[in-house]
């Protein structure tokens, strides 16, 4: 319900246009752009210290500066501000003192470029009117490009899908957001060369997909770019075009959010449990009625009906009892709502942020660590609006920081208190991937517990998992096992052999 509401929200017009342009600038780097886009691009390097109407950073907010100061002065200042300060220009000295005497570096720009930037500032950081027409022509250009890409993608379909799960090769949905265009072009051309050269991402993909090499493709840069445009558009051919001068360019998203494999699995399991409980309640009720009729009222003459219903009810109730008895003390498929609608699918999945960026104590502490709100602020000082939730959810972080009130996240993976579990031991020493115990969190909007976390499940892994025993100081003291390994008595050491299946390892 909630999710639908979020996707139907339209982005504000100008922001949408801006985002669109930005995507084009970074993805395609077409030289079709007019002066205005070029100015916006030039302004990117100013953004490190300045905003237009967004308040001061290191340097002043530049909104309205073109009205306050003459153009000549500004050009001179941007070119070499320190020379002006030294020469004692009163306005320059004033600005210098006001902003903590941090010099503005001199910029090697031409007069025309600076004039362009000033024009862009004058427009309050918006790309001026003629630019809109330009973008509309660009959309058309990209439309033909996407169509071309759709045709070319047929070749890829043998091994890849867009948003329908993995085949031989990975699902390509969102791949253009995760990886740079250059890298993708290189990879599509000749993936094996990259793997051999030891490119970490290429090697990772190669290993992840069972070491089946992707054949080299003899395509031109433009052809690959159009394929990427098609993938970037989630494999759909957009029907959107630009509308009148004031409104936005946006790509129509026809369908709702796509549930990932893991999410569908969790949902099915939860629904299965619910259905079983409903069936058990109904059958229990029937059982009582049937028993009453059989013993007291004798309403139905045909006795076999009673017996059939009795058997069916006992079967369902037995299954219900078994399922819920094994679930006692475990919380499989527990998927609580969190105080902030935070999506791991967006952060870990689409944005490809490493788990340990936020859960940074996983390799040095017993707890994986819930990130403090200050970690959120590493990005969310700038990213103030979510695509699905708007400002509502991100504002909760700002409120938490402002009031110095911790955010009350709900713990999903709970172990009973009589079990000792240490993340450091598993992540740092055991070198386990987070996925092995937590499931594919990068595919979940709301995190659920996928594994049972039962004792049998722990021991299954402890009995079979091989320890990296050699070249590891941590296990130096197991002298006998080392000797056995050397003499060839045993091939490798499992966790069980170093005491991983003893009761006291986890219960004390």
């Amino acid at each position: 319900m909630m999710r639908k509401k979020f996707t139907n929200q339209n982005r504000p017009g100008i922001a949408g246009l801006f985002l669109f342009l930005f995507l084009f600038l970074s993805f395609f780097q077409l030289n079709l752009f007019g002066q205005n886009e070029q100015d916006a691009k030039n302004f990117n390097q100013c953004k490190a210290c300045h905003t237009i109407g967004g308040g001061r950073l290191v340097g002043p907010d530049l909104k309205g500066i073109t009205k306050k100061m003459p153009e000549e002065w500004l050009i001179k200042f941007i070119k070499n501000s320190q020379a002006m300060v030294k020469a004692g220009d009163p306005a320059a000295v004033k600005v210098f003192n006001e902003y903590n005497k941090i010099p503005m570096p001199s910029h090697n720009l031409t007069d025309a470029q600076i004039k362009g930037i000033l024009l862009y500032i004058k427009n309050d950081g918006k790309i001026s009117q003629p630019a809109v027409n330009k973008t509309s022509s660009n959309t058309l250009g990209s439309l033909t490009e996407i169509k071309k890409g759709a045709k070319l993608f047929n070749e890829c379909k043998a091994c890849h899908t867009i948003g329908r799960g993995r085949l031989v090769g990975p699902d390509l949905k969102g791949v253009t957001k995760k990886l740079s265009e250059e890298w993708l072009i290189k990879f599509i051309r000749n993936s094996q060369a990259m793997v051999k050269a030891g490119d970490p991402k290429a090697v990772k993909i190669f290993n992840e997909y069972s070491k089946i090499p992707m054949p080299a493709h003899n395509l031109s840069d433009n052809q690959i770019k159009s394929i990427l445009a098609f993938i970037n558009n989630d494999g759909k051919i957009p029907q959107a075009t630009t509308v009148s001068s004031h409104s936005t360019t946006k790509i129509v998203e026809s369908s709702g959010p796509v549930l990932d494999e893991t999410e569908i699995f969790i949902k099915n399991q939860q629904e299965g449990l619910e259905n079983l409980s409903i069936a058990a309640i109904v059958m229990g009720f029937l059982l009582i009625i049937v028993l009453i009729d059989l013993i007291f009222t004798h309403y139905l003459k045909a006795k076999w009906v009673h017996y059939v219903i009795l058997l069916a009810a006992l079967w369902i109730l037995g299954e219900w009892t078994y399922t819920y008895a094994t679930r006692l003390g475990r919380q499989q498929y527990y998927q609580p709502d969190q105080p902030i609608w935070f999506s791991h699918k967006v952060h870990a999945g689409q944005n490809k942020i490493d788990c340990q960026y936020c859960h940074f104590t996983a390799d040095r502490s017993m707890h994986a660590g819930i990130p403090p709100a200050s970690v959120c602020m590493n990005c969310h000082t700038q990213v103030k609006e979510g695509k699905r939730t708007g400002k509502k959810e991100i504002n909760k972080i700002y409120a938490a920081i402002k009031n110095n009130k911790p955010i009350k996240w709900v713990q999903v993976h709970n172990l009973p208190d009589f079990v000792y579990f240490n993340h450091k031991q598993h992540v740092k020493v055991g070198k386990l991937d987070c996925k092995e115990c937590h499931g594919d969190v990068a595919q979940m909007d709301v995190v659920a517990q996928v594994k049972t976390l039962s004792m049998g499940w722990c021991l299954d892994c402890h009995r079979t998992h091989k320890v990296q025993f050699t070249n590891n100081k941590f296990y130096g003291q197991y002298k006998k096992l080392h000797e056995d390994l050397k003499s060839g008595k045993i091939k490798d050491v499992t966790v069980k052999m170093i005491g991983g299946a003893d009761c006291a390892s986890c219960h004390y």
Partner: protein, 194 residues
Amino acid sequence: MMKSKLFILSVFISGLFFTSCVESRNNPGYAYMGHFDMYYTKFYKAYSPNPILPNGQTDQPAPAGSVSRGENYFPFAPKNIAEKVADQAKAGIELKNPVPVNALTLSEGKKEYQIFCMDCHGVAGKGDGHLYTAGLFPAKPRDLTSPYVQNMPDGSLFFIITEGSISGLMGPHGVQVTPENRWKIVNYLRELVK
């Protein structure tokens, strides 16, 4: 007739009553003798709320100025941009890199770089990380191979990782990365241009 109508009605109502208590995904489930059999003990855990300690947290921040075992004192706590600028220059002179450069520390530095830096600064440190190229983060991250960065002393780079950049676009990562790993990242940055 009246009797059977009443009967059907009672079946219907009790049916509604029973189906209303089907578990939702917000319910963690039950444990056998949960509160008696040490499933849920009463002591405060690291992340549990606490009525006694300040701010209602069990997990308290370390007192200001305290130093963990095996770590060096980090003498800077800039409060505004001007102090940050001064401290960054001072850190370049005062702080010395204690981590030797060898294959092991470099590989560890690379691993830390890939976790904490790569998303913005890119695989090769060119400032072309996927968060920027995909338009998710608005400002261009610094090219770490540029002379501006490479000419800084180790201490200043360490300071920037700890306290964030002067512009504030890069946040402080001192909480996330241990000091030793920060030095390893600095070593790895030098390796990027070699």
